[in-house]
Symmetry: C2
């Protein structure tokens, strides 16, 4: 899944010699090295795991010894972060970066990630530093063949979670407990623990609001459920959202609202294609939804890959064009006090001529 050659081409275009990747998402994109993230930055690290990629195709990774040996095609130094002794993690991190820089022959100009480059590495690298945030985001948006496979599996894991959510959403069950069981289903399928974003919200009142945390609420018959599942599987994110009514008997108004969102998602599948402008796509979806009597206050969707939300974001002022092998989440929804909320979200892959749903799952409110 590594993208060393593609990064080399980006560097040539920027006229930079080396890329220094410090975001966990970018390290994985560049080299395939998966940085564990689910308890935040490792307490055994002296700074962010860093990957170096040269214009000539050289690559190296410096990571704590808890995460080394993943076997990718790069030089690796796994420094003592965890040891049965007093350990100077920052010192070991800096020394290992120095050593790797020598080993791979890094010199010239470097491209860095502004949001994650640590001050602790500033004096070890050439003074000629330039941000690569924008070209890197654009490069990451288009997936290579291996990445397409990874995305497909992550989406399949999310779809399995959606099936489990539907099975577990019965009167008497608890939101938080169900969310744990759904997570467990996805982790068994991945045969690994997964970082997980998303929500599982139930009831008319709660689903009509955005941004609530999962709670210990007990589910009742007739409750709307909004289930948004985004598991990270081997460094790549799946995402998905379903909405349905417990017991399968929605009110006529809820069903009408649901059909509007589903119909808008179907329009998205029919319309998405390479060369289309993101803002035009976004506007078309919003106008369609509004024509059916509903609207949503959030983005129409977002790119996804080694980060759960990445370029391009589907917002009214994004002028970028869609390209083949972008993975795009599309998620029209509606949230109405007294009626409840819903959101219909599939992962779409932009194909040569249109779009296809990656790992579809049941999309009905009944």
């Amino acid at each position: 899944m590594a993208n060393i050659k593609r990064l080399g081409a980006m560097l040539a275009e920027m006229d930079a010699d080396w890329a220094v990747l410090t975001g966990a998402d970018s390290v994985c994109f560049a080299t395939g090295h998966v940085v564990p993230i689910e308890i935040g930055q490792s307490p055994f690290s002296g700074g962010p795991t860093v990957a170096f990629v040269g214009r000539d195709g050289s690559a190296g990774v410096v990571c704590p010894n808890t995460d080394g040996g993943q076997g990718g095609d790069y030089e690796e130094i796994a420094y003592a972060g965890f040891a049965n002794a007093v350990t100077d993690q920052v010192g070991n991190y800096r020394a290992s970066v120095s050593e790797l820089i020598t080993r791979i022959g890094l010199s010239g100009s470097v491209a860095i990630e502004t949001s994650s480059f640590p001050r602790a590495l500033s004096d070890l690298l050439p003074d000629d530093m330039r941000p690569m945030d924008v070209p890197l985001a654009r490069l990451r948006a288009v997936k290579n063949e291996d990445e397409v496979t990874h995305m497909a599996f992550a989406a399949k894991v999310a779809a399995a979670g959606q099936n489990e959510a539907r099975r577990l959403s019965v009167p008497g069950a608890c939101e938080m407990d169900n969310f744990g069981r759904i997570r467990s289903k996805m982790e068994v399928m991945s045969n690994a623990r997964c970082a997980l974003a998303g929500e599982y919200i139930t009831g008319v009142d709660r689903t009509s609001q955005l941004g609530l945390p999962i709670s210990d609420r007990i589910i009742e018959a007739g409750d709307p459920v909004v289930c948004d599942l985004a598991p990270r599987v081997a460094g790549y994110w799946g995402d998905s959202c379903s909405a349905f009514v417990v017991g399968g008997e929605p009110t006529a108004e809820y069903e009408r609202m649901y059909d509007a969102a589903k119909n808008t998602l179907e329009l998205a599948i029919a319309e998405l294609r390479p060369g289309l402008r993101v803002c035009d796509f976004d506007a078309k979806l919003r106008a369609h939804m509004k024509g059916l009597g509903y609207e949503y206050p959030h983005h129409s969707g977002h790119g996804i890959g080694t980060s759960v939300h990445e370029f391009p974001r589907l917002v009214p002022d994004e002028t970028a064009l869609f390209e083949e092998n972008m993975f795009i989440m599309v998620e029209p929804g509606s949230y109405v006090r007294g009626l409840g909320g819903l959101r219909c979200e599939f992962m779409l892959r932009v194909t040569a001529t249109g779009a296809e749903v990656t790992a579809p799952f049941e999309m009905t409110c009944k």
Copy 2:
């Protein structure tokens, strides 16, 4: 739970004017602001959430708008990280830090955290920067009254997870599935999602090795189980490890090995007290275990708080002294090919005169 005054005293001792906290753990320790960590750095952030604490007791936090409004006693700027528009997260982050610096009147010298301070903030702060890694680690090790309450609850959540693990460890159950259910139990008790470190490993072969990932293995009667649970509850970590045999009939050798670890843990409870040197305590535990015929290749334990592993680490060369209201994990264990593995871990609070177990749970192998 904020430690603004204590940080002020530390700054006075360092002769620095302001502390700039950029680790999620330190931000929580300083201000009580809880940074979400369970999907790593937020895709809606322009850099690490930062807290400023002045020697005079002023405090401020800059965080993405997804995490603001927690109501702590500090100035807050929650910048647009998530918006229904193209968003320059790094630009917004930097602008908000600039604005907060003006608002709180930051000037003079600043103390920084080496492992997390971002290059993106370097030019916004005074040139007079000095690392506070060592004094901050020592300050964080001793908990204030509110923190003691937080730690006690986090330990109680871990203990509830241990009870659930014992209940679910039956023939036919799956490691990964059980781990999800145990997590779910702890999240229901916390009424919140929890980042979770730890492991749940079963069988003679697997428990005799360290560092294996949780798998889809199916549990059999007579299996040893090693269950290490460390949930993060409202910014503070619990931790715990139990070991037992499915069906409750250990072999005589396994029971002898178990008794050695349990006995060593009991010695630790009896011996731990303020003023004791960490390396002396560590040596005593290792010697005791060895006298009983077993040994462990890892630390004897570690401090815990807003990070799951923090100062002091219980290793042979740590010369620091224990102090009242340190929370210390102690975890003697043994791992033997053909016999299996085990580890007995409680959270101990150092009291004025000795130590007490925080939230004990069943510690037998049967």
